[in-house]
Symmetry: C2
Subunit: 340 residues, 2 copies
């Protein structure tokens, strides 16, 4: 099958392929024993920057589950590391930055780096290995959205309600817009590297957007996410967690071909909000991965049914695969979806 006829790409164009395409956010890594074995002794960001390793981790879930797409194994802070920012992933905690970006001076210093200077060699090499093996299965490139990256950078690490980043929007909007604008360009460059090396779709992840009011999302975030994706030239998926109150804005004025919906909002309601020009992605409740199969099965069928309300549907979870997930539950979901 030609790549352009792959169910994922057809669904992104608004077609209804015979089988609904399915993949899982965070399918690469975490829940797979073959991943944990491979990662022993390698730090997270080093693994992302070792082409053979990143490629193998990306391919593992495609082989195991038979999903309709690979998603590039990486981390949202990788482009920052490639830009020279001092960041590590602390196991059990998350990304930690040596120098939080809090003042106007901090922002000036950071944004003096030209996003065009990001060294994409290791990323491109990994993507090439993956796409050579995948053949007709699409690879989804991956980047964090500007707000989520800023939430980490301004705090210096993970935080619950991202108070400092959200304070900067109102206390010093010029610095905020400079920072978020720069992050949008950094994420865009990261996506372009993946696209140029062979990725055929990109997804922008805004994990923390749900901490924002709709008004703040529109004024301080959406324009920068828009700039990260606008005109990238391949199909785009835009996903955020807790974005129900401003879901229509997640379309980014038509730049998103698909909008990801979290587990809280039924897909038929989401489709009614999103309108006829966008494909929906989602939204199995990750909590139900731990339920007995008949309970999970009924839920998956309900998600499939509600997804019919949209122009196209990519089946996925409503958030990433939890680390403790039994991988067999994911394989069963793929089999169920492909059997309908």
């Amino acid at each position: 099958m030609a790549l352009s006829d792959a169910p994922l790409l057809r669904a992104l164009r608004g077609d209804r392929p015979a089988q609904t395409p399915v993949w899982f956010m965070r399918q690469a890594g975490r829940s797979l024993p073959e991943y944990r074995e491979l990662r022993v002794g390698t730090r997270m960001l080093d693994a992302c920057l070792t082409p053979d390793l990143a490629a193998e981790i990306t391919l593992q879930p495609v082989r195991r589950h038979g999903v309709d797409a690979a998603v590039f194994f990486s981390d949202i802070v990788i482009p920052l590391r490639l830009a020279g920012v001092d960041v590590v992933i602390e196991p059990g905690r998350g990304p930690v930055f040596a120098n939080p970006v809090r003042s106007a001076d901090d922002v000036q210093r950071l944004t003096a780096i030209d996003p065009a200077d990001l060294d994409g060699t290791a990323i491109a090499a990994a993507v090439k290995i993956v796409t050579d093996e995948l053949g007709g299965t699409p690879l989804i490139g991956f980047a964090g959205a500007p707000f989520t990256l800023a939430a980490y950078l301004v705090e210096g690490g993970p935080s619950k309600e991202h108070l400092q980043a959200r304070a900067m929007m109102h206390a010093d909007p010029d610095s905020w817009n400079r920072l978020a604008g720069w992050l949008g360009q950094v994420s865009r460059r990261f996506l372009e590297i993946q696209r140029d090396a062979g990725a055929s779709v990109v997804q922008l992840f805004d994990s923390w957007a749900g901490s924002l009011s709709p008004a703040d999302y529109r004024a301080f975030v959406a324009p920068h996410s828009h700039a990260a994706l606008d005109g990238i030239g391949i199909p785009t998926i835009h996903f955020g967690v807790g974005t129900g109150p401003f879901l229509a804005d997640m379309r980014l004025d038509g730049v998103a071909d698909a909008v990801g919906v979290d587990w809280r909002q039924p897909l038929d309601e989401a489709a009614a909000i999103l309108g006829p020009d966008v494909t929906v992605q989602g939204n199995i409740d990750p909590a139900l991965l731990g339920a007995p199969w008949p309970v999970l099965e009924a839920h998956v069928l309900d998600v499939l049914e509600r997804g019919r309300a949209a122009r196209g549907h990519i089946l996925n979870l409503g958030h990433g695969v939890p680390p403790e997930t039994d991988p067999d539950q994911l394989t069963r979901i793929v089999e169920l979806v492909h059997s309908r």
Copy 2:
């Protein structure tokens, strides 16, 4: 002034007192240096169960800020501790339970405890000290809502998306309803102890309700929160975080005299959803407590203005006071609100 004429109680009845009443969730503790001094060497739950200490911590913010209400210094897991459950608060982490409640047997064992047997002696003693000193200023009693308590109990500690508690709802609804029903009665008993000792208002906190879909909230949570408050005989406030998508349900069929709104939803929009029979509480964005005063001042005035759309308004934050808050910002907010 008689307690019944206090601005808080008038606002809860739907009156518009000359000054909008103001208090802050988590005003007792955390951000106050006099609290941190007092707490040295005492573990959190021990402090809650030492009447002199709990009373003093409850009174500190009333003296310092001149707020219109005290909120009883306690923790949502205190009634569980009083029921004999082995729980500690780990600093920097949160409540940790020695025995997570995951199976039907676990639920049976726990719910065999009769909520009527909770020993309220220490709580009643602290409330008595507080209300004797407060005079005409109301004391708000405090309890966690059944879902938030269950989210901790089932996981055994804090978690991001409360997967195990939410899985139990679908995998074993009987056990879930037994557990949440019991927790509703435990929280109710805790509120009754505070009421009987002199609290004149109660607030039920559902910190984690925002992880639920509206359908799950309605089916598995609202009935148990309703039972915790129904017929308690004094005014009630019901607050949750991220409950925008099911805000109308937070009224609990008229049992809530006021509904708390988080920082994401403008109060005029919330009032339109909640209707004419409920007072709103909220909703200063805690992120803006870190902004320069003119930015915060403009935000507080905007919140006051939008609050006029409701039948009554209690000014508060949209979530608890962050630990790093400069207490002078809180005092300034009280002065500003009282000057209007």
